[in-house]
């Protein structure tokens, strides 16, 4: 964390905050997009996060905690967006120019599809915890600290989220076994 930038932004320096925002935005967007699975809503969540972060920054006591703090704001913004998403929206989107990512050697299309379906069925708090664990690589204690929840709660949510995702993967295995096909 650039402690000086955070201190300056805390005391009302908009330029310092702009630098903080620009240097964190891609990471925040990456997290939001993995939780929400929608570019427009992820952009909205990041935008809300930045505005709230600016407004609330004077209340952040320890500038070294800025990263965890803004991540918590983002996750909360994602929860709000996810609730809105239940209404669904007439979305169109511009897709990334480079086209679909090259398939990862460790995931078949069927696995990816089932994981996607399984993930979309999870409640937002379990989605967030999986993203913090597997996208950011945080340990349960760090997740608990970031989200401001007890360690036991973090472990429990992670357990249930893993269980749901395991069931999604095993559904693919069962269908392959029934269909007699071969799996990678």
């Amino acid at each position: 964390v650039d402690r000086d930038l955070v201190e300056r932004a805390k005391s009302g320096d908009r330029e310092a905050f702009a630098i903080l925002a620009r240097t964190r935005s891609d990471r925040l967007f990456g997290i939001a997009h993995r939780i929400l699975r929608d570019i427009g809503r992820s952009e909205d969540a990041v935008q809300q996060t930045l505005v709230i972060a600016w407004r609330e920054l004077p209340r952040l006591r320890d500038p070294d905690r800025f990263e965890a703090w803004i991540c918590r704001l983002l996750v909360n913004a994602c929860y709000l967006e996810a609730r809105r998403a239940r209404q669904w929206s007439a979305n169109v989107r511009l897709l990334p120019t480079e086209g679909p990512a090259a398939p990862d050697a460790t995931l078949s299309i069927a696995d990816r599809d089932q994981l996607e379906r399984g993930f979309r069925r999870l409640p937002p708090d379990q989605r967030a915890i999986l993203v913090l664990r597997h996208y950011l690589g945080l340990e349960p204690a760090e997740i608990a600290e970031t989200l401001g929840i007890p360690l036991g709660t973090a472990r429990s949510r992670l357990h249930y989220a893993h269980r749901a995702m395991r069931a999604a993967l095993e559904a693919v295995e069962r269908s392959v076994a029934v269909g007699g096909g071969s799996r990678r």
Partner: protein, 302 residues
């Protein structure tokens, strides 16, 4: 049986995929809002605290009661026009001169003339009622209806792999290509958009087995020529379509505009109300391609 290690590895790979770059305009918009936003006083409750003291809780509850009571009095007062949820204005009133199109925000009712993120020779003029917001290449209202404006470069023959066929030359070519990959709800017919002839068809996309909506690229768009900061970093030369739990209907009008094929795509979800559909249709009915006509000279070598 999936071991914990297999699961962890699969999830690591799953989350490694996805968008990692945000468009600059999103931050620019946030910073513009921040320019007019005051920071909170440090005298308030610090971030670390998760509980409110009883006095603060009592004050908040009192304030909430006052606000709710005030809102109820306002809503129930005889002169109020805000009863019954969000207002929908199916027949927007055009304003005398076009309003300035703002990016990624709520748009005031009125008439807009904009190239969106396309080159300036393509000018879309349309009239919006209450509650419409701007996006990159579309406007949307209330979450259930949207109108997108874009030139078409090509149509994918296999959208999951984004395999392209021969570029369409006519509106009929576009219609035929869409018919090959979409479920047609209303066959193509002739219509008018502003003072131009157009082909109109309605379709939906059945979720394919081979890919998610994020990978599904149906329509190839030309390169955007955005104002700096508008679509930088977005990439975006494919038009993605939603499908899945809620059906998205497309009413696509395709026009031959000079040397370009241009689409007006009216999108509505299956749960859109009749009023929302009417508001959507009103926008489509108001569209015309203004001058200068989109007939750019051929570029060198093309």
């Amino acid at each position: 049986m999936t071991t914990q290690r297999d699961l962890e590895r699969a999830l690591d790979a799953f989350f490694a995929e996805g968008a990692d770059e945000m468009a600059d305009r999103v931050i620019d918009d946030a910073l513009r809002i921040i320019d007019h936003t005051h920071q909170r006083s440090v005298l308030g409750v610090p971030w670390r605290s998760r509980t409110m003291n009883p006095l603060a809780r009592l004050a908040a509850a009192t304030a909430a009661i006052v606000i709710v009571a005030g809102a109820a009095l306002y809503v129930l007062s005889p002169g109020s026009q805000s009863v019954g949820g969000p207002q929908v204005t199916p027949s927007p009133t055009p304003s005398a001169s076009p309003l300035v199109y703002k990016w990624m925000g709520l748009l005031a009712p009125g008439t807009y003339a904009t190239s969106l993120s396309w080159d300036p020779s393509l000018v879309f003029t349309f009239t919006l009622g209450e509650g419409w917001e701007s996006r990159d290449i579309n406007v949307r209202q209330g979450g259930h209806v949207s109108v997108a404006f874009y030139p078409i470069e090509n149509i994918a023959t296999e959208p999951c792999s984004r395999t392209l066929g021969d570029p369409p030359q006519t509106t009929d070519d576009v219609v035929r290509a869409i018919e090959m990959v979409a479920t047609i709800d209303a066959p193509a017919r002739s219509t008018r958009i502003g003072d131009r002839d157009a082909s109109y068809l309605e379709f939906t996309i059945d979720p394919p087995e081979a890919c998610s909506a994020m990978a599904f690229g149906l329509i190839k768009l030309p390169a955007q020529t955005c104002t700096p900061g508008i679509c930088n970093g977005l990439g975006g030369d494919w038009y993605g379509l939603e499908f899945g739990a809620v059906t998205h209907h497309h009413g696509l009008s395709v026009m031959d505009v000079g040397r370009r094929l241009v689409a007006i795509d009216a999108v509505w979800t299956e749960d859109a109300t009749a009023e929302e559909r009417a508001a959507l249709q009103a926008v489509v009915d108001s569209v015309h391609l203004g001058t200068p006509l989109a007939t750019p000279p051929p570029s060198p070598g093309g």
